[in-house]
């Protein structure tokens, strides 16, 4: 496992969101196993991983909605299962239940009351959130008549009304179109720039690359952690683009082979992530099967890194210098 030191932690006196040795079982299945992570003020931390890796279970434990079988979950230093934590925490689950037959305005009022805000304070915060989410022109519209993107923004506004120090989002842009998704991210960056800590899960690697740090969960364990840029820089397998007269035949030939960590077509070419040191031999063999190939190295994208890490958890650990010089083609 790899990790980046986070200088903000020392400065700000402790993480806002903190998991220490989290464990959760469902019957015999260990959904989350000895998981530790932290999110600092002003930081966006992305939980990524295959379907069923334990992302939502982790989020539920950190938001105090699910009991732990082991470990500690804290928000602002307080145990996540304490009711008081709700004051510190904004949470947007995958399926967010707003009141469809209430208006935008009425939904915000409802959640404001839930948190015991007095009328003046509630109205002040409502106005500000409606302005920055650009929902102000739609105050009177019923929630069930909003588009998917606007509904998500209203859900986010409701989750932020009590001005939490930590915001937790479970797949925030699932089903949201790219324009609304970028707006949602602009919003998240605004709050984070003001010091909020954000923990989110996402199946989208472009979205993951927008986080300050990511943690890759697999079978309930944290396989790797770090800034997307740093993980990409440390990724020491080989990414390349291959040109061939018959891309499909090459794909069929290579799919499932042990050296191949990932492959996908890009236009007429095939993008490959191969185990370090395997490129020459593999492609020389492939040429005998499907004819001439032209290849050149390519910079790994974060999705290449993700897929590489699933195949080889050591993909981003610092390799020994001898290994590096010996493996490059």
């Amino acid at each position: 496992m790899t990790s980046d030191a986070n200088p903000q932690l020392q400065e700000k006196g402790g993480p806002v969101i903190e998991a220490q040795g989290l464990v959760r079982r469902f019957g015999k299945l260990v959904a989350v196993s000895d998981l530790s992570l932290h999110v600092a003020a002003g930081e966006i931390y992305g939980l990524i991983g295959p379907d069923g890796a334990g992302k939502t279970t982790t989020i539920r434990m950190l938001t105090g909605l699910m009991a732990l079988d082991g470990g500690v979950a804290r928000v602002s230093g307080e145990d996540a299962s304490n009711v008081g934590v709700r004051e510190q925490l904004g949470y947007m689950p995958q399926q967010y239940a707003l009141y469809g037959d209430l208006s935008v305005d009425e939904n915000l009022t409802f959640f404001g009351r839930l948190f015991g805000l007095n009328r003046a304070e509630r109205e002040r915060r409502k106005d500000r959130l409606l302005e920055i989410t650009r929902l102000a022109p739609f105050r009177k519209r019923r929630a069930d008549q909003l588009s998917g993107g606007m509904y998500k923004k209203l859900a986010l506004a409701c989750a932020l009304l009590h001005q939490p120090v930590a915001l937790v989002l479970d797949e925030p842009s699932n089903g949201v179109d790219p324009v609304s998704r970028r707006e949602l991210w602009e919003l998240i960056y605004e709050f984070v720039s003001d010091g909020m800590a954000v923990l989110l899960s996402t199946p989208d690697m472009d979205e993951a690359a927008r986080c300050h740090r990511v943690g890759l969960l697999h079978h309930g364990k944290l396989l790797a952690e770090g800034a997307p840029d740093a993980l990409t820089r440390r990724f020491h397998h080989e990414t390349l683009m291959v040109r061939t007269a018959n891309r499909d035949a090459l794909e069929d030939l290579l799919v499932g082979r042990e050296e191949v960590l990932a492959l996908s077509p890009e236009g007429a070419e095939l993008r490959l992530v191969l185990r370090r040191g395997s490129t020459q031999a593999l492609l020389a063999w492939a040429e005998t099967q499907v004819g001439a190939l032209h290849w050149e190295p390519s910079k790994p994208a974060f999705e290449d890194v993700f897929l590489g890490l699933l195949a080889d958890p050591q993909s981003c650990s610092e390799p020994a210098a001898t290994e590096l010089s010996g493996g490059a083609q």
């Binding site: 295959p50 179109d177 790219p178 324009v179 472009d206 236009g267």
Partner: protein, 311 residues
């Protein structure tokens, strides 16, 4: 059958709901074996188009043929020729894998020996031979998705409509899914796909982009990037987007500034083509920045350029 054959032809297709025009005089063709991506914001008219092309909704004006059948005059013929799968695809979760396939085969009038053959072929396609008696509910998301795909293909449709088939699915499952899609295209099936994952749209042979009911762009992913994203793009490491925005406020050469984790993506006038140009533009403006790299636009940049609304 020739590969140039059009299996979908859309001519001035429009659909109104009262005074609202959901689809506005749309024209395009889709060739046999093509993977055609149909993109647009929520509410741009994608679903209305798909409902018309699936024979579920009559057009107000204009016409379209799907697998040679007119969508208005022969909607039943259209429905027999197509398959449909969406993110909300309703498999029966309390039925086994095999029972689901039998159900869908029956719904398409496939019975007896033909049904056994079709179900076996579907099980093989989805690599679920060993799970035929498993209750669908207990399958992981990615496997369930393969079953949904196999169900949509049980009657061997000429065209398969995929409506956000991979929403909420992780990259490894998505790649497997797209490998199956490419296999289908190679065997001659035509794929009509909507998605909000624009990295996934890169896998499409051609893309049509809808804005407010109109088709505003049509082409291969490289064509769209060339034609619709002006200027040059750079990634600036370790840069604060607010500070950069403040430093570059009012500079007409700046087309877009977008935060991206610890980086910022900056799009500028094409005259500034190298990292050195950017460096000199920023020097003396009081903003800290790290390494500068030229990057290529993505389909998301195309999308945001054409759909607008991005700040």
């Amino acid at each position: 059958m020739s590969l140039d054959e059009h299996v979908i032809e859309v001519r001035d297709l429009s659909r109104k709901f009262g005074a609202f025009t959901a689809v506005d005089a749309v024209n395009f063709d889709v060739r046999r074996s093509e993977i055609f991506g149909y993109l647009g914001a929520n509410g741009a008219g994608k679903s209305t188009t798909i409902r018309m092309l699936c024979g579920l909704l009559a057009p107000t004006t204009g016409h379209a043929t799907v697998a040679g059948k007119d969508i208005a005059r022969d909607p039943v013929g259209v429905k027999r020729s197509i398959g449909y799968m969406s993110q909300r695809f309703s498999l029966y979760l309390d039925l086994t894998v095999q029972e689901n396939l039998q159900f869908f085969a029956g719904a398409y009038g496939i019975g007896g020996k033909k049904q056994r053959v079709a179900v076996d072929a579907a099980l093989e396609r989805a690599q679920l031979q060993d799970s035929r008696n498993v209750i669908t509910k207990s399958l992981p998301g990615g496997v369930r998705q393969r079953l949904a795909l196999a169900s949509a293909l049980i009657h061997k449709p000429v065209i398969l409509f995929l409506d956000e088939p991979t929403a909420g699915v992780s990259p490894d499952s998505r790649r497997d899914f797209w490998r199956m899609i490419r296999g289908l295209a190679r065997e001659g099936t035509t794929l009509f796909v909507t998605t909000h994952h624009l990295d996934e749209a890169e896998y499409c042979d051609r893309i049509g982009l809808m804005v407010d009911g109109k088709l505003v762009a049509l082409g291969t992913p490289p064509e769209l990037k060339r034609e619709h994203v002006a200027g040059a793009m750079f990634a600036l490491a370790d840069t604060d987007h607010r500070a950069l925005r403040a430093a570059l406020a009012g500079d007409a050469r700046v087309l877009q500034i977008q935060p991206f984790g610890r980086r910022v993506h900056l799009r500028v006038d094409a005259a500034l083509g190298t990292p050195v140009d950017i460096q000199s533009m920023l020097t003396g403006r009081g903003v800290a920045f790290g390494e500068i790299q030229r990057i290529e636009p993505t389909l998301e940049d195309v999308f945001l350029e054409l759909v607008g609304g991005a700040s």
